[in-house]
Amino acid sequence: MPTAVLVEHTELDRLRERLAEAEEALRAIRAGEVDALIVDGADTPVVYTLKNADNPYRLLVEQMREGALTVSDDGVILYCNAAFAHIVGRRSELLRGTYMRELIADPADMHPANLFPERGTPGRDVRLRTGSGELRNAYISSAPLTIEGENVHCVVVTDLTRQELRRRHDAIVGSSVDAIYSLSLEGAITTWNRAAEQLYGYSAQEILGRNADILSPPEQDGRTILKHARVLEEKLSPHETVRISKSGQLIDVAISVAPLANADGDVEGFSVIARDITERKRAQDHIQFLLREATHRSKNLLAIIQAIAAQTARSAGTIEQFEGRFFQRLQAIALCHDLLVSEDWQRANLADLVRGQLSPFVEPGLRLKLEGPNVFLTSEAAQHIGLALHELATNAMKYGALSVPTGNVNVTWALENDRVDRRLHLRWREYNGPRVTPPSHSGFGSLVIDRLISESLDGAVAIDFRAEGFRWSLDISSDHIVNSPGASYHPSRD
């Protein structure tokens, strides 16, 4: 019967389709293409996961920086992520199935009511015991969950040690006197501390994101980032270079570069420490200057000593006489040098020079009066005037006012303006000594106080052997004076 045959065919086709569907379902399950099966439950169908349909969520939890775990009502760890295992320094597969309280250091925190407070209660700080026995501060918060009819707690653990380290690191970098900044692999500035702001003049706001090349002077070729990479490759220690500030000022800096790696060890950029070495450079230059000066002065000194020895020998009658005069003169020179050394070879105070040169003969007081403004002499002027004062005092001691108890000496000086120049007048006057008669011959002393000093300092000397007391005066340009009003500063004139 055609109708029955048609019905049979239709039924057969339907059954074939159902069979094809069932075979297709079996094939998909066998091929692992099915994530879940849907089974009839008491009220609604229940979804049974066959494979990692929850993979994305699991990955998310695994990748979290915070520790995450599920803990049963009685405190057994059912699951924990890698971050939690890392915080407590244990392997996650060994943590699962253990009691969470075994990881808590303080007994008060072990109680489930404290560990898993009611929903909505803020978390608490606890100390966790790591695998190596070390204690680690952490912040724990939890929320109750129901999984497959079981009450569990979802716990999130934040490592406060890391935060603390970060805080400390920020404090150190923030208060560092060295400029500390970091760069991306492309050279963009990613962090910038306060010292960097002060050194370079750029605020963090205006420089973050800009390329570090703006800190290099235009005459420096090549990209900063490539140079940093080269420094690392060649393992160079801190190197000195020049950088340019926002205002265009060149700064001498010592630069240290270190690679910045992420948690996986991949280099993501560089950290740079720049130390301002302007002061050190200046100090080095000053030392160089002093060394040059010392060499120069030593040569001068030897020439002076040679001349003194020769001249003293010429006027001395005996070896003893020579020895006495020669050593006194050496002492006079040594005193000048002491004064100069105490002022970095730059200058000597005139009052100190007078007091020092006369101290072997007479102390300031009734017999010696000093008067004059605060004047500093150049090193050259100090040596010549010092030697002259020595010779004047020696003469006064032998023949003049200091040879008798009643005699006295006045040493005065003044800065005076003439038509073209400001000049220093130094005067030596003796009173109440024996009656003065001009000497019949002139020795080395006369040479020093007259010709030597006038020629060396391009000055004018006046000598007056007046009967009531010897007088000597020197008039020199203020070029021989340093750090005095109206005087110019010449650190190395000779």
Binding site: A25, A31, V34, A36, I38, D40, T44, A53, P56
Partner: protein, 72 residues
């Protein structure tokens, strides 16, 4: 996730946008499985045109997908 991406890509390419695709998350709405006779996930159901056709799996096989979705 991969199944959804595969179907979406296939439909865009083969049907040139002339289709409606509804994605149902059975974890969120398991009650929608029963009326549709769904026993496994992911399952693709072609409602229109009739007859209704089902495909189970990750939808990575373009031939099967074509046989299910395309009108002969």
């Amino acid at each position: 996730m991969r199944a959804v991406a595969n179907v979406r890509k296939f439909c865009e390419r083969e049907l040139l946008g002339a289709y409606d695709l509804e994605v149902v998350d059975l974890y969120e709405s398991p009650e929608r499985a029963q009326p549709a006779n769904i026993i496994a996930a992911p399952t693709l159901i072609r409602h229109d045109p009739k007859p209704v056709k089902l495909l189970i799996g990750d939808m990575s096989d373009a031939e099967r997908l074509s046989a299910t979705i395309k009108v002969a």
